[in-house]
């Protein structure tokens, strides 16, 4: 075995006998505090409830917008209606004279 192969083999075996690294006491303290955090931060209601409320609000807003648009369209039609009736009446009168 040449020098290079020996070096590669030795390097490949460099992790033999590796010991676990000791974790930092500060990390352990943080992990302990993490253990209590999820309970404090727990959602007040189950997640589906939040989604249902959000969907309800979205539906309400959509219905309001649609109602507003519909009202505006009808309002415009009402403004235009007298003029249309007058034109139709005058046309009728003109025809009647004849």
């Amino acid at each position: 075995m040449n020098r290079k192969e020996t070096w590669i083999n030795e390097t490949m075996n460099a992790l033999d006998g590796i010991r676990p690294a000791a974790s930092d006491p500060e990390l352990v303290r943080k992990l302990y505090s993490t253990a209590s955090e999820p309970h404090e931060n727990k959602d007040l209601f189950p997640r589906p409830v939040y989604w249902s409320v959000a969907a309800g609000i979205a539906l309400l807003v959509t219905l309001n917008v649609l109602t507003a648009l519909h009202f505006n369209r009808n309002h415009t039609n009402l403004k235009e209606a007298p003029a249309a009736v007058a034109t139709e009446y005058l046309t009728y009168l003109g025809t009647a004279k004849l």
């Binding site: 390097t11 490949m12 992790l15 590796i18 690294a21 974790s23 930092d24 992990l31 302990y32 209590s36």
Partner: protein, 192 residues
């Protein structure tokens, strides 16, 4: 088979049970993360993320595997996610892109990884080997690290990586072959 009393307590949110869980698993979680990430602070971050995830999703644990394996799996997923998102690069300021050809072991990290559990006489070579491991594809890197650093069997690695034993065997064979090639290149450039 009934649910273990410890698991029932964990699901009920018993803080003492969580503390015991931390005591039992924090070293393994930290060491697995450290081996995969090769970065002390990031390994600590991942360890915290793992336990937050464990606490939040303990109710989803169905007992198909042991609790230990489940935690290991979360650890590997979190660590790989960390590697993928490049958090390590941002923190250490390492720029792999500068060195173009990744098939050559010529990366010059600002802070070479020095695992505290390596025997003194192996320190220098282990640093080079860790650099080479960091260049492996993630599956090979994971399998090799779990095997060599954590000392896990191929069966255990297969369960953690959610794959077959033959697949793990294949990852390990390819990892060794790739590492030998990388080390050979390195030797040609530096040790000759």
């Amino acid at each position: 088979m009934g649910i273990a009393p410890e698991l029932v307590k964990l699901r009920e949110g018993d803080e003492l049970a969580f503390r015991q869980l931390v005591d039992q698993h924090q070293n393994r979680v930290f060491n697995t993360a450290l081996g995969l990430l090769q970065h002390h602070e990031n390994a600590q971050d991942v360890t915290q993320e793992v336990f937050v995830e464990v606490f939040r999703s303990i109710s989803k644990f169905r007992g198909d595997s042991t609790l230990s394996t489940w935690i290991y799996r979360i650890t590997v997923q979190k660590a790989l996610g960390h590697i993928r998102s490049g958090k390590r690069l941002k923190r250490s300021g390492t720029i792999f892109g500068l060195f173009g050809n990744e098939s050559q072991l010529n990366i010059q990290t600002n802070q070479p990884f020095d695992h505290p559990g390596i025997q003194l006489e192996n320190k220098e070579r282990a640093t080079i080997l860790f650099k080479a491991i960091a260049l492996l594809p993630l599956n090979q890197r994971t399998a090799f690290t779990l095997h060599k650093v954590e000392g896990l069997s191929q069966n255990e690695i297969a369960v953690i990586m959610s794959t077959s034993v033959s697949s793990v065997e294949s990852h390990l064979v390819r990892a060794r072959r790739n590492l030998r090639e990388l080390l050979s290149d390195y030797y040609e450039q530096n040790e000759k």
